[in-house]
Amino acid sequence: MPVDYLPILVMIAIVTAFAVIALTLSAMTGPRRPNPTKLSPYESGMPPFGSARRRFSIKYYLTAVLFILFDIEIIFFYPWAVLFRDLGWFGLSAMGTFMLVLLIGYVYVWRKGGFEWD
């Protein structure tokens, strides 16, 4: 029932209103005396070096693809997880088989050095 998700709609409304009010009020009432330190991305943080707009290493490609695959795996956990107790040992072994096949892939990635940077 969509009505069950009404709290989410209410929360979106409250969050939006809070963000708009907080930003508007601080923009209207706060003093504005910028200096280079205040304008840096991380005040009191590490000094930034280089450009943020350079090209990123292609090695992230593998990270992204692996993330997506394991992310899709999680979707199949969801309908199973809500029934976890009712399904008992049968459900656990069914999911165990599913996991085992993916674990083979995980070990393969590991052995091929997919988790190493160099």
Partner: protein
Amino acid sequence: MSTPLVLTYVGFFVMAAITLGGALMAVSARNLIRAALGLIIALIGIAGIYFVLEAEFVAVVQILVYVGAISILILFAVMLTRGLMKRDLPAQNAQWIAAAFISLAMFAALLYVALSTNWRAVETQVAGDLIPKLGTELMTTYLLPFEAVSLLLLAALVGAIVIARE
């Protein structure tokens, strides 16, 4: 307790507004990263529409796969491509007339289908929570396809490594 109709309308229009706003941001932003952010907002709005339409599982999948994974892939594609990280890329190129024409034709076709289709309300309402039902089906009727999915994911994992090693 069934949902009051007015609430469904409010939910739909809020989500449609978020989707449209995000989509407009995606096509109009000069900065590609901002355009990707607009796309993410649009995808979240679509997930909200799925929630309003009582397709909870599709909504969760939409958030996990599209908002979570596809948008990451798009951002990585932008960050990994030479020249795409420049500050102000031109938002248009010579193909914009053809693109506008194709988009308009697509919109007309979708509008025609939406208006000419005889949309019937579903007569039999599925009672109760749908996700446990889906889980039961997945673990009984569709157990074999479910296990086959793990093989598909395994093949994709191996494929990703093989492509990355080359």
